[in-house]
């Protein structure tokens, strides 16, 4: 009997079957959109602010789950298998989301599953920054006209037959080889002669560049609580990253103040806590002093930003207004951010109410999500202000 196998084995060419990848791309696109929509939340996300050089970040996104009617897993019983010695009461695991959830205050509410209902996407810090910084710029940036605001750059603009091997121009070298072969009647590229080698060479050019200094002032007095400091630092964190990635020549001076102000290092600024009363004018005075000493306004674009809870010594307010006006005369803009969770009437903000100079920008921050608003208000692209 001859056995007819009733099976086939085949091996198709699947290389054109790209659907999985295409739909994966679409999914990533949606993740990106969701991140964009969540930027305001992400800006104050602790895991990002606190990350130390970790470039991949897990971002919680609330819209990419595929929702359907399903059972509440947390309220049901499920089957499992032991190794033969299981007994009632054995703990299989803890719920990490429950433990991490802070300030939820709802307890075992109906169907509340904090931390489970969102999709975690992995994105790099770079990606978030690209989206975040896309529409930000130092506003009202001016070209200052002195010699030392030129910067050196190099430009590859010549091709030579001799040079450094790191600078071989591969395309031109191949073209030469092809041409030589073709002239010799060779149809194909056969070999590359030393004679074919072409090198790029460069010249140094000078590019005019605007110089700028940012004066980051933060209230560190006793009235600034955890939340207030966190908000101020979040703002300055992103500001610093933004300036570092987008501008080459921006100085940042960090000024911390309570009743007195002092220039501190970046590290101190972001980590050290202080206490005591508040006299905001001390910071403005120190800013003016720094400008006078190191940043002449004819050479520098100047950007003072001050974050406070607005709780200033009343008798100091008038002085503040005078100094801020003085600062604005020589600055491109002046930014005041007030962290005021409960919408108290703040002495400083009411004092600033009457400042009408278009250079004066202020933002009131009541919740975490509004740090993003501060960034976009202070660094709004295309926001030109007539220089006075």
């Amino acid at each position: 009997m001859v056995h007819q196998p009733n099976f086939i084995i085949s091996k198709d060419d699947w290389s054109l079957h790209r659907k999985g990848y295409q739909d994966q791309l679409r999914h990533q696109e949606k993740v990106r959109d969701a991140i964009k929509k969540n930027l305001a939340d992400l800006v104050t996300d602790e895991s990002i602010i606190m990350q130390n050089g970790r470039q991949i970040i897990k971002v919680p996104i609330r819209s990419l789950d595929e929702y359907k009617f399903r059972y509440n897993y947390n309220k049901g019983q499920h089957g499992g298998q032991g190794d033969g010695s299981s007994s009632v009461g054995d703990v299989l695991g803890k719920d990490p989301s429950g433990a991490q959830q802070k300030g939820q205050g709802k307890g075992e509410g109906a169907g509340e599953q904090p931390g489970i209902d969102y999709y975690e996407a992995e994105v790099s810090l770079d990606e978030i920054e690209t989206m975040l910084f896309k529409d930000l710029e130092l506003p009202n940036l001016q070209r200052k006209t002195l010699d030392d605001i030129r910067t050196q750059d190099i430009r590859f603009n010549d091709i030579r037959k001799k040079g450094l091997s790191g600078n071989i121009d591969k395309r031109r070298t191949l073209m030469e080889a092809v041409r030589r072969n073709a002239l010799a009647g060779q149809k194909h590229l056969k070999n590359i002669h030393p004679d074919d080698l072409r090198y790029k060479t460069w010249e140094e050019i000078e590019v005019p560049h605007s110089q700028a200094v940012v004066l980051a002032m933060m209230d560190t007095s006793g009235s600034m609580g955890q939340f207030e400091k966190y908000i101020a630092r979040s703002f300055f964190f992103w500001m610093t990253r933004f300036l570092r990635t987008r501008y080459e020549h921006v100085d940042i001076q960090y000024i911390a103040h309570h009743t007195e102000a002092k220039v501190v290092t970046e590290h101190e600024f972001f980590t050290k806590g202080e206490s005591g009363g508040t006299i905001c004018s001390s910071a403005y005075r120190l800013a003016l002093q720094l400008i006078a000493e190191k940043y002449p306004p004819n050479k520098f674009n100047i950007y003072p930003f001050h974050f406070s809870d607005g709780d200033n010594l009343s008798s100091d307010n008038e002085k503040c207004i005078r100094l801020v006006k003085e600062l604005m005369e020589i600055s491109n803009i002046f930014g005041y951010g007030e962290v005021n969770q409960y919408n108290r009437s703040s002495t400083l903000m009411s004092a600033f109410k009457n400042v009408t100079d278009p250079k004066f920008k202020n933002v009131l921050i009541k919740e975490k999500g509004e740090v993003y608003k501060a960034l976009t208000t202070f660094f709004k692209a295309g926001d030109a202000i007539q220089a006075s």
């Binding site: 499920h78 298998q81 299989l92 509340e112």
Partner: protein, 451 residues
């Protein structure tokens, strides 16, 4: 794969096929396709390589691929219920792996061909899914990619709500036409959980109810009765409903089917002349497949143990019949014994405070819970009670509460999708903390109202 390897594989398949036949397995003609891992993942993510495109499949595909790339999991094979039966083998499999997989796949194909749940499924789904995918591509061109995507988003949210028993039920309905079928006779849950207030509300309407009886097949109900839908949208609903009906029997027979295939690959592999290296590799691979899990039931393991026990107690002849007539929930109900529960150390666990704890080891309670969890493919049963609620074209759905609450967050996110499909306000009645509650979505926001 080199020529001689392919030759070896072909010879192995021929031998395995003959052994399987001798055992009495009866399967369709087989089409083995050797393909790269990406294709197997496409398959796993989409359920079928020819299915339509959607970002959610891309997400699943990506997750599977990452797990594979990091060595966390590996899919060796995938098999499609079709005639001929397609089996996809990973091109990096060793010959021994392929032998085991081919033996396993033949078990699946025998099961597909003979289990009653599969009697009504189309055996030509590879082609019809390809055709549907092509139509949906055309809709994208005609009506815009985004419009189609958003519609599919909504349809996917509701796709498990079909009624595989519809054919049988319609026949029953014909017989009962004279004797006024009460909803209780049709909806197996209606008599268990009556919530008075709603009944009064719907019964106080003197006009005939619409639908006449609670309708479990929401996909069909919406497809037929949602007023604002365009033809292309109805077509997409119908495509997705058909696809769900195709996948449905596989959801209902997971433990039986995987156990059956595992049982048979063991029988067949024992007949093969394996050398020492192959024997070790086989033992390792098999151990991996049937490894139990503390937090879920491994269908390969549980199914295998049950089939082996059935063979011991009733003989192999009984196995052929059982594989024809049962589905997971009746299989567990009828053949999961006290001894098996103890041998496999089965238990129930649940969340107690912040911890997941073993809470039940009583074998009957374990068995009952496992049976219950397999009902309706593990999905909550929802029925359309009224398609013209408040005489306003609103849709009133009711969850047949069976003791387990719905996930409220998901529910509230799903209602807007149902609204997108129906086009009018949606109500859903369910039970939370022992009280009847009605969720309503009016196109803008959700409300909830306890009865």
């Amino acid at each position: 794969m080199k020529k001689n390897e392919l030759k070896e594989l072909e010879e192995a398949i021929e031998e395995i096929t003959m052994i399987a036949r001798d055992f009495g397995l009866d399967f369709y003609d087989m089409h083995y396709e050797i393909c790269p891992s990406e294709i197997i993942y496409t398959f796993g993510a989409y359920g079928m390589p020819t299915r339509f495109s959607h970002w959610s499949f891309g997400k699943a595909f990506h997750r599977m691929k990452v797990q594979y790339d990091f060595g966390l999991s590996k899919i060796y094979e995938l098999v499609i219920n079709s005639d001929p039966c397609y089996a996809f083998l990973l091109d990096s499999n060793t010959l021994l792996q392929n032998k085991l997989i081919v033996a396993h796949v033949l078990g699946h194909c025998d099961f597909f061909k003979h289990n009653a749940r599969f009697y009504n499924t189309s055996r030509f789904m590879v082609d019809s899914m390809a055709a549907s995918a092509e139509r949906i591509r055309q809709y994208e061109i005609e009506y815009g990619k985004l419009a189609v995507e958003e519609f599919i988003d909504s349809a996917l949210a509701l796709q498990e709500h079909v009624d595989p028993a519809l054919v049988g039920r319609n026949m029953r309905k014909g017989n009962q036409a004279q004797s006024v079928a009460s909803p209780e006779q049709v909806d197996p849950y209606a008599d268990l959980f009556e919530i008075g207030a709603v009944k009064e509300e719907t019964q106080s309407q003197p006009t005939p109810r619409f639908p006449a009886e609670p309708e479990k097949d929401l996909m069909m109900f919406i497809m037929e009765h949602a007023k604002h839908l365009q033809d292309w949208q109805r077509d997409i609903l119908s495509v997705m409903r058909e696809e769900m009906l195709y996948f449905w029997p596989q959801l209902e027979t997971k433990i039986m089917n995987e156990g059956w295939a595992t049982y048979w690959h063991l029988q067949i592999m024992r007949e093969l002349d394996l050398d020492e290296g192959e024997t070790v590799e086989f033992a390792k691979m098999n151990a991996g497949v049937i490894m139990p899990s503390r937090t879920s039931l491994n269908p390969y393991h549980v199914g295998l143990k049950m089939w082996e026990d059935i063979e011991k107690r009733y003989g192999r002849e009984a196995m052929w019949e059982i594989r024809e007539v049962e589905s997971d929930s009746s299989f567990l109900r009828n053949y999961l014994t006290k001894e098996l529960c103890e041998e496999m150390d089965l238990y129930l666990y649940q969340k107690v405070g912040n911890e997941w704890k073993v809470v039940e080891k009583d074998w009957e309670k374990v068995r009952d819970m496992l049976c219950a969890s397999r009902v309706n493919g593990g999905f909550p049963v929802l029925t359309a009670q009224d398609g013209d609620y408040l005489k306003n074209g609103e849709l009133y759905l009711k969850h047949s509460f069976d003791g387990t609450e719905l996930d409220v967050k998901y529910l509230e996110k799903t209602l807007p999708h149902v609204y997108n499909l129906w086009g009018r306000t949606i109500h859903l009645e369910t039970v939370l903390d022992g009280r009847a509650v009605i969720f309503t979505h009016d196109g803008k926001k959700n409300h909830r109202r306890f009865q």
